[in-house]
């Protein structure tokens, strides 16, 4: 029997804001010692009240717009009640029935196919404290770090529109890319700033069997999402084919064993007893606010990728690579503008040379080569003023300095010697000094020319042009048998 996989994802993204969701504490806690970014409000002390972080609302609205959602003019906050030591107040201030954004979609490219995944809703809530469990000589203990408590958290819920682990992974990547583009979240999964839970089920293609929905948690990377889902699909299909009963449950992905295991269902049988948060009035988003947010929306990844292709004549692959990160695309376009053209060449230099030396693609700025410098280098290479090798060396030599590449080339005499007589002189010297290689070439071992060109380049100390050397050499070797 054939089965179809049905996957829906629930994403949590920490919102990039200076302060926390309901208080003034700093929201960037990753390098902070435990319990230093805390105040009575995020500690949930008696008597405190929350205040909504406007920037978090703005970024969630931006996310909603970017995910093609409608933004209701009215949203409100609710209390989600459950007791756990990571939840300071015994309830989480979240949004239940009236979230910030609803009914959107994301178009995702999966192996050249376009898949549209519906977005059910995007709402805003607060992150919990972080618990660390330790055992030592004095027994087991749990430590609470409240720095994370109250950090703005966006929840993005998809429709069950994905039909393979690969689609789920691509959806996840696409959403992350969008969040990073609009500056709503770092999207960093390893640091826990971006998290993913999945609901997976199977349906037989004839519709006779509909398997129960299983929720998968503890997936901490894009790869583990795909692996966990692949495992779960296989597990569910095998069970259904063998006539075993599957139960609706929550299962945790164990990365090291590469399996999912059922979590005790009792712990998850929550009744959250949602009710409107009486400490916060409902949020009314007026037209002016929405227009202001709309006006700050950057061009989104898919649109930009298409424009890069069309405007600069780039290949699909280059456009995709450049559009993956907003910072890269911005860098690329700045370089093309500075160079006044050479769009394809600059694309190759960015995706080739710069990516090779940048530690992180999203931080091209750290390489220390401003787009104007790359524009000069590529322009000189294209014009034959320097050779490609020199161009590459300039990238590393000039990294972090404020010397212009053109000035540096002039100062160090790196400009290519293009004077035909000078080249001919060097070629004649090389041919004279390497009779064996010349003989090899003439006897049909044409590859020997590579060695001879290399010798020419050495003599010219980087100012040589390999094409000019090759042309002159073949010209002499093929026509002048006397030498």
């Amino acid at each position: 029997m054939d089965f179809e996989t049905i996957i829906g994802l629930e994403l949590h993204a920490q919102v990039l804001t200076h302060s926390k969701m309901y208080c003034g504490c700093s929201a960037s806690y990753s390098d902070a010692p435990p319990n230093t970014h805390v105040c009575p409000v995020c500690l949930g002390l008696p008597g405190v009240l929350p205040v909504i972080n406007r920037a978090a609302v703005e970024k969630t609205v931006m996310t909603g717009i970017a995910l093609n959602c409608s933004i209701p003019r009215y949203n409100k906050f609710d209390r989600k009640n459950y007791m756990y030591p990571d939840l300071m107040k015994g309830y989480q201030v979240s949004q239940y029935d009236l979230p910030i954004a609803v009914n959107g979609y994301v178009d995702v490219d999966v192996n050249g196919r376009e898949v549209r995944v519906g977005i059910t809703r995007v709402h805003l809530e607060e992150d919990t404290a972080r618990l660390t469990h330790r055992s030592g000589v004095d027994g087991e203990r749990s430590l609470v770090d409240v720095n994370r408590s109250g950090v703005p958290l966006m929840e993005i819920v998809s429709e069950p529109d994905m039909h393979s682990p690969e689609e789920a992974r691509e959806f996840l990547i696409a959403v992350r890319r969008i969040l990073r583009y609009i500056g709503a979240s770092s999207g960093n999964m390893e640091e826990g700033a971006f998290r993913c839970d999945a609901n997976v089920s199977q349906r037989s293609t004839d519709g006779s069997i509909i398997g129960p929905k299983v929720e998968i948690k503890n997936m901490n990377s894009f790869r583990s999402v795909e692996r966990a889902l692949e495992y779960e699909v296989a597990r569910q299909r095998a069970a259904l084919r063998n006539g075993e009963t599957l139960v609706q449950e929550t299962r945790g992905w164990l990365e090291d064993r590469a399996i999912t295991v059922g979590q005790r269902s009792k712990e998850y049988a929550h009744d959250y007893r949602y009710f409107p948060e009486p400490d916060l009035p409902p949020v009314l988003l007026d037209e002016g606010f929405l227009a202001a947010v709309e006006s700050r929306m950057p061009e989104l990844p898919r649109v930009r990728q298409r424009r890069l292709r069309e405007q600069y004549g780039l290949s699909h692959a280059d456009a995709a690579l450049l559009a993956d990160e907003k910072a890269v695309a911005d860098y690329y376009e700045a370089a093309v503008t500075a160079a006044g053209g050479h769009a394809r060449e600059i694309a190759h230099w960015v995706t080739g040379e710069l990516f090779a030396i940048a530690r992180n693609r999203s931080e091209l700025g750290e390489v220390g080569i401003p787009p104007t410098s790359l524009a000069e280098i590529v322009s000189m290479v294209v014009a034959g003023e320097v050779n490609a090798l020199t161009g590459k060396e300039l990238l590393t030599t000039l990294a972090g300095s404020d010397v212009s590449p053109r000035a540096y080339v002039a100062q160090h005499g790196l400009a290519q010697v293009r004077d035909a007589d000078a080249v001919r002189e060097v070629v004649l010297e090389v041919l004279a000094a390497n009779p064996d290689a010349v003989a090899d070439y003439r006897s049909g071992k044409k590859a020997a020319i590579g060695y001879l060109i290399g010798q020419g380049m050495r003599r010219m100390k980087g100012a040589g042009n390999p094409d000019a050397l090759r042309r002159t050499m073949t010209d002499i070797l093929d026509n002048d048998s006397s030498s």
Partner: protein
């Protein structure tokens, strides 16, 4: 230090009104330190009987009074500078424990001052102590305090009302010139009535709740207890106003309430609602005193207009869905993990169960259970949602009434102070003590309780309810009545109280 006038005229600082004390302090005829010492002496004298204070703050009071004297000497006095003030023990204060009269917070120290405390401190008011209340403000008699029951200074065998019973009794017994309480369903007005003092619940949103330990967030409101309406206006002006830390506080200007006390209600239209008279258990003495008060208003030139508030009879049941629901969430933070009582146990669940089992009293547990139940999946629509709809209807009744009248009069409570222990076995009887005060909470409206006579030797109280954010009119009506009737000048017999 001597003060002018002391030889010719006996100044009894504990009997001063806030306005009189202000005048004497500003004229340097009385120092803040003297005023504080007089109140400390009174507290020491009557406290064995009254038991209004959970934590006296004598040392702090002396320091604050000394500082207040410097401010006065520098000519920088504000209305509350040097005035002895008591705080209900659910106001977070850095310099004294904040317990909410609960075992679960016994000895708890807040690392911050709430907004009203901060404002009074900035004005150099003098804090004399933290006052008894029903645990987490849940009750109508202070009998739910985990520590002790406060006695009514008019008759120590009777309750002072509640939950802010300590705040009401302290003002009645001269232990403070003014106190602050909180009113969720009547917790300022009802004890003010039982103790024969003035108590105001401002409009929801008029005074910041930041630093007030929450009972029911959509209903809680902070307000003052004083011995006169003018005093009430003065302290309200000091604590009211928008606070960016409380999103439900209104960004509206605060009028000069004291300046608005004209002494006249001539031409004012005053509503009398049938729903606020003929209830079961209404004492004839209370009914008679209130009706006499209505007549006084008519004699003063106001027009009495019958109004209808048909949904008010649902206010009590609606309140007992809404308030416990919010309380069930507000009290979830007391789990033995972070602060307060923590009962040792093997597992997390056991820690929760034992801490909360030992830390909360029976009424608090009852309300947590009520609230948890009405929010539970499957019951939510039938209880919580329905209650919110009724709440809207109650509000609409008032909106309609206030199209015709400027204020509405009602008894504060259907009875005078009842004997200690009389209602502790019957929560429903206890809940009925708030039947006339709850509607104003459900509608978010301001309401004041002022003395309007006696029944069987115990104070009867008149309630004046006004339009949202129109405390000025409420105070003006209350002040005119007070001046005409003089009921506020009656004080319990302290000598007899202490002799018992």
């Amino acid at each position: 230090m001597t003060h002018i006038g002391a030889t010719t005229e006996m100044v009894v600082p504990v009997d001063l009104s806030l306005a009189e004390a202000r005048r004497l302090l500003d004229k340097r005829e009385l120092s803040a330190v003297e005023l504080a010492e007089a109140h400390i002496a009174r507290i020491e004298q009557v406290e064995p009987v009254v038991q209004a204070f959970i934590t006296p703050m004598f040392e702090q009071a002396r320091e604050m009074a000394a500082a207040a004297d410097e401010t006065i000497a520098a000519g920088e006095a504000r209305p509350m500078t040097g005035i002895p003030v008591g705080l209900k023990d659910i106001f977070c204060t850095v310099d004294a424990p904040t317990t909410a009269a609960s075992k679960i917070l016994a000895g708890y120290r807040s690392p911050y001052d709430g907004t009203v405390v901060e404002r009074l401190r900035a004005d150099k008011a003098v804090f004399v102590g933290k006052l008894n209340t029903d645990e987490f403000a849940m009750g109508s008699s202070t009998e739910n305090s985990a520590f002790f029951t406060t006695r009514n200074p008019w008759d120590p065998t009777r309750v002072p009302g509640g939950s802010s019973g300590g705040s009401a009794a302290a003002v009645a017994a001269g232990q403070a010139i003014a106190t602050l309480g909180s009113d969720t369903g009547g917790s300022i007005r009802q004890p003010a009535g039982f103790c024969g003092v003035v108590g105001l619940k401002p409009t929801y949103g008029r005074v910041s709740r930041f630093g007030l330990i929450a009972f029911a967030s959509s209903l809680d409101q902070i307000g003052p207890f004083t011995r006169s309406v003018e005093d009430c206006a003065m302290i309200l002006g000091a604590i009211a106003g928008h606070d960016p830390r409380d999103s439900t506080s209104a960004p509206l200007p605060v009028p000069d309430y004291a300046a608005g006390l004209t002494g006249s209600v001539r031409g004012m239209r005053i509503g009398i609602a049938r729903e606020f008279s003929a209830v079961e258990g209404m004492e004839p003495g209370v009914q008679a005193a209130c009706e006499a008060a209505y007549e006084t208003f008519a004699k003063l030139g106001a027009t009495l207009v019958p109004v209808e508030l048909p949904y008010s009879k649902y206010a009590l049941p609606t309140y007992y869905i809404t308030a416990p629901a919010e309380a069930s969430a507000n009290l979830a933070r007391y789990d033995g993990v972070k602060y307060g009582l923590s009962s040792e146990a093997e597992t997390l669940l056991e820690t929760y169960l034992r801490t909360r089992g030992e830390g909360f009293g029976p009424e608090v547990k009852r309300r947590i259970m009520l609230g948890t139940y009405s929010l539970a999946s499957g019951y939510y629509d039938a209880y919580y949602v329905k209650a919110q709809k009724v709440r809207t209807l109650i509000k609409r009744d008032f909106d309609r009434a206030f199209e015709q009248v400027d204020v509405i009069l009602a008894p504060t409570s259907p009875t005078v102070a009842f004997p200690i222990g009389a209602r502790t076995d019957d929560p429903l009887q206890m809940y009925l003590a708030d039947i006339f005060t709850i509607p104003a909470n459900m509608a978010g409206l301001p309401g004041i309780a002022i003395p309007c006579g006696f029944s069987d030797g115990l104070p009867v109280s008149l309630q004046i309810i006004g339009r949202a954010f129109d405390e000025a009119t409420v105070l003006r009506a209350a002040h005119a009545y007070e001046q005409a009737s003089g009921w506020h000048t009656y004080r319990p017999d302290i000598a007899r109280l202490v002799a018992r």
